[in-house]
Symmetry: C4
Subunit: 231 residues, 4 copies
């Protein structure tokens, strides 16, 4: 597989996160405009988000790895699959790209570009939800990369489709997306003051998943091999 | 394909069943909270369940086979594809994992961890539904493994998506999940007293499917081969 | 690929059509019971039907070809890809299997096993809809088999998902399924008196598609080859 | 891969665009007839459109490339992957096919064949939406063709599924489809007077995407190769 230059990799992270956030925020605005039924609105928010994740990861993973998520970038850095210097650039690109996504969504719907969300999302149940959501996301990515790399775009899209519904927080599971959503006072927003709790829970869930999967994914036969190889 | 150790296999069954039940129960709570329309709620329960099944089977099948279901484990044991001792461990792991999934869902939604369901699901039509649902599930798995092993995660996810709607019982089709759902007095619960009827019907459907598919999946050419091989 | 015996092929056609009809009829009953919104009900009828088609075609095509549809069987017979004698058995199996599917759905929902539908579906617009729907179905199958055989289950499932909505008749596109649905006085039923119009339109659409695709799918390079081969 | 003759390629473009528009317009009519909830209606319009795109691109791409869209044809012409003469024929076929699709949908629903839409879609936010929508569509196609050609039908179907919701214009992203939709005074229509704004925005978005992706998709290793090859 060809290597892509750092500017292109960083651009891919920014562009992907921008489209992801534009989809989350934009479909949320569309949905709450069209229906009073909050479950129908969440369906109208879920399907586009799952769908665009499959698309964005498929087309940008060959360039940048398609993290679009500082928690994922952190895990790959901890697992020494991404150099620290590049990780920093990725996280900046994801954050700025995410904000650009919110602004783009607002512009498409004729709203003021930047807003402060008043959507309260805090408390232990919400934080536990974000921890579980990000644990699952990272577990899916690590096992997916190991066993079925070509399916990873689908696995992530389907996992988030499920996690929108099975967590009480609708599964942000992404610090850059959380920051970007704090700038939208619409369906998918989050109050800026509630960001720290979400981000800490997400990073904790990601690191627990990295540890758990490191154990779970070690095959017995490797051990056996090593043992057999010994004299 | 590498072999995984027994503790990892058992952990994969527990983790997978936990995430499956957390999705079923959690999305049920989310759905009934958001809408008065019961069909919209069932959509909000169906899509996450189908989606997470594709994900969980893809990422855990290489480790444990991804049964997450005592009826499936029973069938593979009867077909001598799983040793009896391991089957026992699997079923314990599935049951405990399932209960952990219910507790996790309740914790995410700020509810008391364990509840006794009052959702009545009993009678001949319900039992027949569970029998048909599990017959279909096992038939899909056995034929899928035979003809298109890589598609099995999709086949199971799509089958359950359909079975939520075409059976009167919304297709539990899984004794461990049924037990776990009896501990949640929410959308997806089942009264503990109604468990025996469901479990018997599920196991019966599974065994009928194992017999039916053993016949249906034997190709004529194997017979021909044997006959030609005879002197 | 191994060959399957005639009894197994016929059984596969019956079993597949039974599950298909049980899904169509059963999900229709579930949907209309749960919601007063007819579009939500149609979503709850569409998703299971599309999903089960992907599953059934994947697992039964290696045995029988997975027609489940006399119009499809007719096309393959006309194109000399299925002997006439087998075609007759297929159509009988599809029809009886479909009726068994209706009875199964009714039994699962505690309804009387056989009912006469009073759902009126007649007139030029409905017939034209059925013609277009079956034209499209056969075109999709013939081109899919030619270009991307492994994708055919998905193509048919997705096509029917679309056709439920873009035709005024919700796209029966299948004479055996139409007969089976005439025995259910529920959401997905059709008045027995309206069957002939539907069946004629479906067969006409199928044959037009067979002709059109025979032309469209002939590559220019074959012609060129033949011409080059001439002295 | 065999080559197809020009008449077949042009017929494939016309047939594909006709089915695409019949799906968009037909499912819109079905949806708005069945429900007063506009988000449910949009779901009933989105799912069929996404599904039929996967199907049509899979079965017709081997014949014509499956553009169904003058903006896409323009991009491939600018990138010198399609001769100008053929591009002209494609655009005529797409436009006439699209109109035939509208007429077919109207006939299936018993409506007058051609109507003038009164659905107002104009202004900066709408135009910006169309620009973003078409930028994304072309970016997805160009990167998909580069990295994962077999997945392109899915990528386009999923992208449009998302774009129906995340843009304020429900993402026409296609001048031929826009023209065809101007002839339907139903859910998915557009006032003829609003066509120029949409078409200009779509073509602008497409060209910006072509430029952006030309840069983004150039791998560093190609450059390195060239440099290493130099003496």
């Amino acid at each position: 597989m060809p290597e892509y230059s750092v500017p292109r990799r960083v651009a891919a992270e920014a562009l992907g996160t921008a489209f992801l956030v534009a989809t989350v925020v934009g479909s949320g605005i569309m949905a709450e405009t069209l229906t009073p039924d909050k479950a129908v609105a969440l369906l109208g928010n879920t399907l586009p988000t799952g769908a665009i994740l499959v698309v964005l990861i498929t087309i940008l993973a060959p360039i940048s790895g398609a993290h679009f998520n500082p928690a994922v970038t952190l895990v790959f850095t901890v697992l020494r699959q991404l150099p620290m210097s590049l990780a920093g650039l990725y996280i900046v690109a994801q954050t700025l790209g995410g904000i650009a996504g919110t602004v783009t969504a607002h512009a498409m719907f004729g709203q003021s570009f930047v807003q402060a969300s008043t959507h309260i999302r805090t408390g232990g149940a919400q934080w536990f939800s974000e921890g579980v959501a990000t644990f699952g996301l990272v577990a899916v990515i690590l096992a997916g990369v190991r066993f079925e790399r070509k399916a990873v775009p689908w696995l992530v899209g389907l996992y988030i489709t499920a996690a929108y519904w099975f967590t009480a927080s609708t599964s942000f599971a992404n610090p850059a997306v959380a920051v970007a959503r704090s700038l939208s006072n619409t369906f998918s927003g989050i109050r800026p003051a509630d960001l720290p709790g979400f981000i800490v829970a997400e990073l904790a869930g990601a690191l627990v998943a990295a540890g758990t999967m490191s154990w779970l994914l070690s095959p017995a036969s490797t051990v056996a091999h090593t043992e057999r190889a010994a004299p």
